[in-house]
């Protein structure tokens, strides 16, 4: 199956109904708070057809946070293996993408050291809006736009100064 066919299949199967299983591989739990907000009335991911499920057996998408500490690697692998295919792995948060914690005797440093990641969502923590965007990208409903963003402002002095 070519990557385009795979994306199309995923969009068709999961586009309107996706079950998400969250996995904390050693994060500070702020990402979890943002994820939990997704179920609250303001962001309400259920209206988009996404649902949280505790059982990997019922899950389509594994939403992983944390730097993948070594003590958790077996459990993470088991959670991934317990999901029936087709399945998507989304790594979210700066820790999961390799930032904050380097690889050392206690942690792998990034989720893709143990699990095959399909979608990365940066942020520390990623806001619920960023998470919704990320889930949309994962099921092919929204466009992946960061590729075209240059993150440089050569000639634009009107942009506000400072990063925050």
């Amino acid at each position: 199956m070519t990557p385009e066919d795979l994306r199309e299949t995923i969009a068709r199967q999961f586009g309107r109904s996706l079950h998400v299983r969250t996995l904390d591989t050693g994060s500070c739990a702020v990402c979890e708070q943002e994820i939990r907000l997704l179920a609250a009335p303001h962001y309400d991911l259920n209206r988009l057809g996404f649902f949280f499920t505790p059982a990997p057996r019922h899950a389509d998408l594994l939403l992983v946070t944390g730097p993948m500490i070594r003590a958790f690697a077996v459990a993470a692998r088991k959670s991934y293996d317990a999901m029936p295919g087709p399945k998507i792995v989304v790594a979210t948060g700066a820790c999961a993408l390799g930032g904050v914690y380097p690889e050392d005797p206690f942690t792998h440093g990034a989720v893709d050291a143990v699990l095959p990641v399909d979608v990365w969502i940066p942020g520390c923590p990623p806001s619920p809006l960023a998470l919704l965007h990320g889930l949309g990208v994962a099921v092919g409903r929204l466009a992946d736009k960061v590729r075209d963003l240059p993150f440089t402002e050569a000639n634009d002095p009107e942009r506000s100064r400072g990063a925050s």
Partner: protein, 112 residues
Amino acid sequence: MTLWFIRGLRRGVVTTRYPARPDASAASLPTPPAFRPQGLTRQIADRLAAICPSGALRRDGSVLVYDVGRCTACGRCAAQAPDAVIRSGEFELATTDRSALIKNIPVREEAR
């Protein structure tokens, strides 16, 4: 129960329309920075790479390798070099390709 219902009707719908329509709160979100190559000398690039706590910045020759994924939007680089670092305002950063998050920002050669 009835009071709650009536109060809710008066307040209206609080659920955001995102992603169908943009959300107003997005304007005040902390976001990873963007860089202005004019303000970015080698010296400044090295200083920024040294103070980034998350390892998102690294100078490689005349390029500042900026890993958007590793950035925590802490603001230290902006405080260090306000001319070189500006707010990007971008929060829709999800991607299926990890390398799309690694940006090469050109570093200005200092005129001696």
